[in-house]
Symmetry: C6
Subunit: 201 residues, 6 copies
């Protein structure tokens, strides 16, 4: 079993893809909601995040705060519970806008109680209206996903031309979805609500 | 269809014009209002904005908070809902006062539910009383608007002399409005309320 | 008509005088009060202000918060409405204490609904008790006022000797009031309440 | 009449003494209380104050908040009204602990409505328990007080030896009180309550 | 008796392991809850902690705020009482993610009233979902534990290969548990609830 | 009479010992509680304190907030009254953890109304559980205490070996207590409650 199975076994965790000094890598985004009985609200961000990545987390949260009802997510939970988003490993500095879709997916998973599919990894900037904007490093990210045992990858539609750079042997073992709205991401990446309930039973 | 059609398809998005290192460019301003059930209020600004641009956003919001009732905008929404303003792309630093009219238009669109015309782009500093003050880079901005398929451009009245520098071939394909008060901007740029309601139906 | 007529056509705007790299210049101070229905209170300062100028704005506001009732200003408005003070143009850095009287006048105009006379410009530091303290650059400031079509100028009493440096031709076309208390400034600069009401009707 | 007469004509203003680059100088401390109807509470400090001087203001205020009732000062006013302390001139940087007694006197004058004697100037650090601690520059400060027309000066008891350095001609025209507790300062410097009431009538 | 017996005699203290300039060392984490009658809530962190270690403390607290009820911890206490986490000695700078499990254990001990076993020391990063992630310096940390009289050590499962580097003589005197979820840590390290009650009686 | 008699004549003041550039010195810690009628709560720290010393003050306060009831201190006062801790002289920078016991004693004196014995000085870091941890400069500190007329000194138990460095003539005139828990400090240093009541009568 790939590591992503263990990581994404609970709602609130999504698998992203990053470019690092040493090529690409799989990156987990973890989100939690505090028990309302513990008081306090707001957003805590950890994992040695740079300014652009912190802004991505705020965009993902605002997207869900303004569009969550349309998406049938119980956003009322945000009123009484504080949100924490963490990117392990905690000592590695991280930055860039390309975790936008992963952040949105982790938060939507947390709110809905639906886990994220462990065979899916994703990359893409999001805008405040939910558009998926292009990012860099598609080749390195797909190679990293493949190495990690991921079989389905979501990339921005505007990055489709970059797929030409990915070796055919890797392309053959990956299902790649090109997406332009984060709603497409959520439809593909979240497990069905029923399955989640069985898991919780 | 130009990209601006997709971007401005929802209320809260307006098309601006900026001067970049590589000439001019089209710049989108996105605004959202959180669901009041998610708690928390205030203004969040993202997109790697410089100090002058952040101040422009505060001026635009204060203008609407003090004059919104005259403009028949439902400003009461601001009491219970937090506002987020984002400038994609998230990793590109941005600064300067010339997005003032675009910011005001995006926020007025958001409050009114009226989308911004996708064929319109604009540039201009605003003052706290709604005056439109001159900006730089008119030539590069109009060339960028033209390249992006925009057909109507709003510039500050005090920039009218700069139109002489724009090639005649471009001038012929653009309708340019020179404006001195942001109310003129809103009248031209916002789609009629009725159309917006049909779109929502 | 001088530009100051347009700028000061609404309550909350006063005309100041500044020394810049290129001699003196006219400087507008704009103040607005948010609609109480938009929630939130406090003071927002914009216009790329330096520390001394930001402190001047706080002094002007505290003066009105402590002495406003004596001056028959409806200071209760400050309890439920946030104040924004802006100095256009937004990208030009500004500093120094000499906008103290202009700040106080703009705020008193805003609270009273009485516009500021468009033929009047002013300069002077204020103390927390309303005293008008001397400033620099009297000559450059009066030349700038004259160029801008201003006909009445208010300067600190302790700057009276500096008037000797102003060319007689300019002196002859300006009415100069030397003032030592900001109450004198408000009496001269604010239009009568009645006129303001007619304007609003 | 010395300038201090005008400055200290209202409650809340006390005359201090400072060492500057050019010898000693008289320094005014102004304090104001906002009208409770203007909302907001807290302490605002202006006058380009350094860290040590800002801490002196907090010590003076805490002294009055903990000992005010013993001193028969109506400290309840602090609950609903914000305090502003300003040191003119606003653009001149100021620092050091020696304004402690002046700050306490200005605040006690403000709370009691009793003006500070205009013939009195003072210098001295205060501790949180109201002790008056020694300061530097006694000679320059007394020369400055004398030049400004001050006739009574308060200095810390532990600075008594420094009086030897003051020219006899100046010493002869000044009444110097050496004090070790800030209560002695208030007894000497505040005008009687009755006089204050007549002034207000 | 080793020093850890004295340190961990009260609930809220756990023994960690750190790498320092001079090899490894034992490190105590102390946590306290304020009496609810003292007002104020929130988290205070002291001990000259670096950014990564401060984030570890926030992750540990969020983990307990979201999962505490499952763990049968009375998290409601967090609503009315402020938490303070301190790492003695107070003047020594400390950083890194490897105190994550120790922080979680100290906080869980505090909430449950169950002391931490004085013969146990631990090291490991935690994720927001409670996973125990690998850290560095296993050899130095185990040598330090041994020197300090510790007999049981908890390390991340993914650090198991590092045990090969530990001298056999030390390995023989230590019971080492490799753990992958912080729940395993709490089960091993916290004394039984009954014992804690007897201690309190 | 030594100066410490005057300084510690009121509850809330304790005598500490510090190492300075010029050997050791006596250091006073002053604490005050605001009248609850003045509104506002929280902790104010003054005296140009470094980060480690500010953290020591927070540790001392948290210790009392969590253990105060056991110590029969009326900690409820902290809910409605703001605390101010000041280290005179106000312009001298101070840092280090060794004022921990002095801070705790000053705060316990303030809460209990029992003054601190004027013949006692102390030094020692405290942990959040009240343990007294070793500090540096024992020799210089004891020489300074002796010079200042102090007759009883409290030092951490783990600093007992450092007493060998203190000249026998000084040792003979000082009673030195070695302590390992801050409760021992409070028992020795605070005057009996009865004496305090008589002083207040
Ligand atoms: Ca990137
Ligand atoms: Ca697609
Ligand atoms: Ca610009
Ligand atoms: Ca026009
Ligand atoms: Ca100036
Ligand atoms: Ca005059
Ligand atoms: Ca000084
Ligand atoms: Ca005396
Ligand atoms: Ca580490
Ligand atoms: Ca294991
Ligand atoms: Ca020390
Ligand atoms: Ca002992």
């Amino acid at each position: 079993l790939p590591e992503s199975s263990q990581r994404t076994a609970v709602p609130g965790v999504a698998t992203g893809l990053a470019v690092t000094g040493a090529g690409g890598d799989v990156l987990y985004v973890e989100a939690s909601l505090a028990d309302p009985e513990t008081g306090d609200t707001g957003l805590t961000l950890t994992g040695q995040l740079g300014d652009v990545m912190k802004e991505s987390a705020r965009i993902a949260l605002s997207y869900l705060r303004s569009r969550g009802a349309e998406l049938e997510l119980p956003v009322t939970a945000l009123k009484d519970r504080s949100v924490h988003v963490h990117f392990p490993a905690g000592a590695v500095p991280k930055d860039g806008p390309s975790a936008g879709v992963t952040l949105t997916t982790a938060l939507a998973s947390l709110l809905s109680g639906r886990t994220v599919r462990s065979d899916v990894a994703m990359t893409g900037e999001i805008s405040l209206t939910g558009r998926v904007l292009p990012i860099g490093g598609v080749k390195q990210k797909l190679l990293a996903a493949h190495r990690a045992g991921i079989t389905t990858v979501l990339i921005p539609a505007r990055n489709e031309p970059d797929l030409d750079d990915v070796p055919q042997a890797v392309r053959d073992e990956l299902t790649v979805h090109t997406v332009s709205d984060v709603r497409e991401v959520l439809e593909i990446a979240l497990t069905p609500a029923k399955v989640a309930e069985q898991a919780a039973a």
